[in-house]
């Protein structure tokens, strides 16, 4: 039995790993073209994120901020980061997100969407 345990340990011991939160999906979706302007942007992450240091901003083609500066982690679901945006005209928008996972590791990224 101990030999089986030993072999299993050697093959399967992955060790402790740090948490790094990454987006699972978003609304609007990455790279999508929308017929109607969205009222906000929401990203679902694959782990819980820290409300204090997690941020998101949305910029237009001219690198002007179009979000209302109210980015927050959803109080009901700590995996969701959301922000509201002002009325978006037709054009391409870029969403920048930066979040802290529960163990304090930061991950960042960005994606675009388009309004027709």
């Amino acid at each position: 039995m101990r030999w089986i345990a030993l072999i299993a340990a050697v093959l399967l011991w992955p060790g402790e790993a740090a948490a790094h939160a990454f987006p699972d999906h978003s609304e609007p979706r990455v790279g999508t073209t929308l017929a109607q302007a969205p009222g906000g942007v929401r990203i679902w992450f694959d782990g819980e994120i820290e409300p204090v240091f997690s941020t998101m901003r949305v910029e237009n083609d001219l690198k002007q901020r179009v979000d209302k500066g109210d980015a927050r982690v959803n109080p009901q679901d700590n995996r969701v980061l959301e922000v509201t945006v002002s009325a978006l005209a037709a054009g391409t928008y870029r969403v920048y997100w930066s979040v802290i996972a529960r163990d304090g590791h930061r991950t960042e990224g960005d994606f675009r969407f388009r309004v027709r």
Binding site: P14, G15, H20, T32, I100, R102
Partner: protein, 454 residues
Amino acid sequence: MSIVVISGVVRWFTLSATAAVLGALVVVAFVLPRPTPAGPARRLRRWTTAAAIVLLLGVGAELILRTQAMTGSTSAALLTGVPVVVAKTHFGRIWLVRAAAIGAILLLAARASRGARGAALGLAAVVSLTTALTGHLADWGDLTPSVGLDWAHVMAAGTWTGGLAALALATMGMRGSVWETPALAATAARFSRLAGYCLLVVALTGAYNAWVQLPGVAALWTTGYGRLLGIKILVVLALAALGAINRYAIVARLGVGSLRSPAARIFRRARLIVAGPAGPRAALAARFATYVAAEAGLAIVVLACTAALGESPPARHAMHLDHHHVAEPAGPVRISMDALHAQGGVPSNWLFVPPPGDAGRGREVFVTRQCYACHTVAGEGFPAPTGAGPELTGMGAHHPAGYLAESILNPNAVILEGPGYTGPDGRSTMPDYRQSLTLADFIDLVAYLRTLAE
């Protein structure tokens, strides 16, 4: 030195110190003979105190490094950041409990009473729990089976590796009267049994961790995390082999009946065939000490690998990172006909690679074919798109040339679900260019798309 490397080194120290504290307390409580010889007991109390001091310094450094990572700030903002991290983040709250428990261990470690030792052991278990609570498996919440299993993993691995160091320390210079062979044999047998149980727990909880974290067996060699894990596995293998030799070839001969098991007999016979008759029994105690010290040394290397893994994104996140670095063969793949057949008709890891093209001319093709009517390319100044198609900004960094070529030539080969670049029939709305693009146009267009980086 980058913050990731410094964090890794600090994690290595805290993991090693946690194991040292836990292992020493367990060895004193459950492994050393009763009454406990004064010399080894005193030595282990000092060892525990020293390890707790290192641990306390380590968690102090952890807080500063995490604050730096969270605030992304310089030293000036760190001062204001630390209280916010401690008061308002999950890591900070766990850190408070962790630091308090280590401080209490430090106060108790120097005391010889049984009650103090028991309390310190309980606190060491709390410190192990905080390791699990700030690790990856706490992603799904604090009071979850995942955290419980990771806690068991940390406790078992810490008891095993830290116990080896404590045992090496306790049996150091064993020629004195404290360690007569029967006492040493009984101690060694108790630790060997304990290490066996720890290995069992480590195996079961490790299997669960692997199931959760690795997207597949191939991640062991296709991701940086997996390769690092491979190195760790090799060191663990060496550690387990040393442990097995010690248990079945040395401890078994020290003269305790319970370890004269069939496995020990088989091991000794195999050894007799391979290496000839064993040395004199008198040398066994010294060999035991040498092996335990070597095992403790390997355990330090295992903990270094664990620390490095702790600072790397787990393999299950590899898809978020690796597509930025799609590798294409640098030159021609040379292969014999036999090997080509043997590998199933294409070389292993084959990738379709279009020939190099003229990216400048490819841009002209993009403009004349009005690809911009559906595809945005940021920074190019093309007219705004009117139709629906995926944005191509930065696409060159995300996909290999063969994939881009296929998406022009056969857009229905891969259909992206969700964004809606499809018609009512569910097929791609991308036009058919077989009559209008020459082969040169096509190659140059792909070369242009490959230049599109952020």
